[in-house]
Symmetry: C2
Subunit: 327 residues, 2 copies
């Protein structure tokens, strides 16, 4: 057994026994796509599949973090355990802690059944969906009842991340600018539940009514990549800062999960699996193309394309050819 496999076994054993520091280290390995992560996931993946994975997304300023905090309190009151993966929009490259994240962690510092983790939205395209899927599998295997995947819902990949959850909650706030309104419309398409937060503001009930009207008007879509959507998403109003409406939201999440077996949740699981497998296939391919013996050809080919001396299709065929790979 190699070094990474031994390290993975050690961390997995500890994490499964409830060691949160070992769990955090596993998640770091997953985020960095190390050999330890591969060995750990090979072991943990078959143990996962029990948790309820809830995606929570919405435009900046809708109050996602506050709502997640209120949901944590509600879940804990019901005696259930919860993990949060907060995909950090603050830095596409270096990452960094989500605003308020440290504060949130501290208030549950002594609670073994709450685990909060920021993940940077970095890495190559598609990486986010696969990394968060893998992180969810680790937390699932570690026994958390609920896993919240919190993302800011404006970018393609962030929306995909949320949409690959068993249940997707789209958060909206009353009174936002035009661009944010447009983002809203797009987000509704991935929603299993729509929540108008900041319900104490004037206009919240009107926003909820408008959203219900939009949802009635929209034709349900069936899309192989996303949820087939058998019924119209429910629209709820919450005031996360006071906790108003949060018990009802948790009840709606539970109902959606109970109703969802075999339906949209299954499609979401398939999408999640596909993201993860595809990311690994892509990594393997990249490793080979940039590995010893092929790196020089790969780099020269990419330079020719950058200088417009070669078109990208001929380049792609040349790279696949360099792998000795023909159909």
């Amino acid at each position: 057994m190699g070094e990474p496999a031994a390290r993975a076994t050690e961390l997995c054993d500890a994490a499964l026994a409830g060691d949160r520091r070992a769990l955090a280290r596993l998640l770091t390995a997953v985020e960095n796509r190390t050999a330890v992560a591969e060995a750990a996931l090979r072991r943990l993946y078959p143990l996962a599949g029990r948790a309820h994975l809830v995606g929570i997304t919405g435009p900046p300023g809708a109050g996602k973090s506050t709502l997640v905090a209120a949901l944590i309190a509600e879940v804990r009151q019901a005696g259930r355990s919860v993990a949060v993966i907060a995909v950090d929009p603050s830095s596409p490259i270096t990452g960094g802690a989500l605003l308020g994240d440290r504060v949130r962690m501290q208030s549950y510092a002594g609670d073994q059944d709450v685990f909060i983790r920021s993940m940077a939205a970095r890495g190559h395209a598609g990486g986010l969906a696969s990394t968060s899927g893998a992180a969810a599998a680790v937390l699932d295997a570690a026994g958390f009842d609920l896993i919240f995947l919190e993302t800011v819902g404006t970018g393609q990949s962030e929306v995909e991340v949320a949409a690959a959850a068993d249940t997707t909650v789209v958060l909206e706030a009353p009174e936002m600018g035009d661009e944010v309104q447009a983002i809203k419309a797009g987000l509704l398409e991935v929603a299993d539940l729509v929540v108008v937060n900041k319900g104490d503001r004037p206009g919240a009930q009107r926003t909820a009514a408008q959203l219900r009207a939009m949802l009635v008007a929209s034709v349900p879509r069936n899309d192989a990549h996303h949820h087939p959507r058998p019924k119209r998403p429910e629209v709820l109003v919450t005031t996360a800062s006071t906790g108003e409406g949060v018990p009802e939201l948790l009840a709606a999440l539970d109902r959606h999960r109970a109703a969802g077996r075999g339906g949209p949740a299954e499609a979401a699981r398939l999408a999640r699996a596909e993201h993860q497998v595809w990311a690994i296939v892509s990594d393997r391919l990249r490793d080979r193309l940039h590995g010893p013996g092929r790196r020089a050809v790969t780099e020269a080919t990419l330079h020719e394309v950058a200088e417009h001396r070669l078109d990208p299709y001929t380049a792609a065929d040349r790279l696949l050819g360099s792998l000795g790979w023909r159909d």
Copy 2:
């Protein structure tokens, strides 16, 4: 010569002769990744490489569309031609026209030297960067002097799109919420030029001063995936609604381009080429895995992963093995 190749030749000939409707059709083909697009790009790609590709990104509400409109007016006054690719955040799935886009198009309806195009942020991960890169190559071959790539700068892929331009402009507005502030900090890392828009608002000059201080404090990064950044980005203040500061911005763009040869612009071109080639490699791989003879194995494997009966690494190796492909 097959049907798509003949159609591509026809559209390319017309587009190169100045037919804007043919150009629009080529871009639709590029967006849908059709066989016509492949044939057209094989022909047009070697003709491209002359235009100045400028990425313009920033958080929602910073005034990107208004600034782009002001830049178009400025570019036209200088007698140069300009195309805009606006990556539409409104719908991750079905797409839709960017707010205000129709209005913008109409005001230049009679002008052959302005071309504005919305692209939906849809498709599988990484698709956005390669599609916008391919669209830029088509517009470049068609002879536009400047190409603006406008994206909302919150999602990973949207930021990557902008960062793969020759020059990346990050737009900021004074006085924004906490989450938006966090997004700002991340965006600065990809900036060649930082623009504080809405310069007529109180706090604009203070925001510019703060940004200059942040940029002085930050250590320049060299990252293979992004621009090596030899010098600190300039911070400008504009009021796009009145045109104030816009001539200075265009001059700064020209200076960045003149200075950038062989430096960051070359790295950006390489990143753009890599995105495009990689997307084609991925498409070819997907087509084969989901093609006749392999589809059943691929789908069964993905289902096993979704049901946690198989880990994603073993699944990836099985799929690569089904291609008869060994290292």
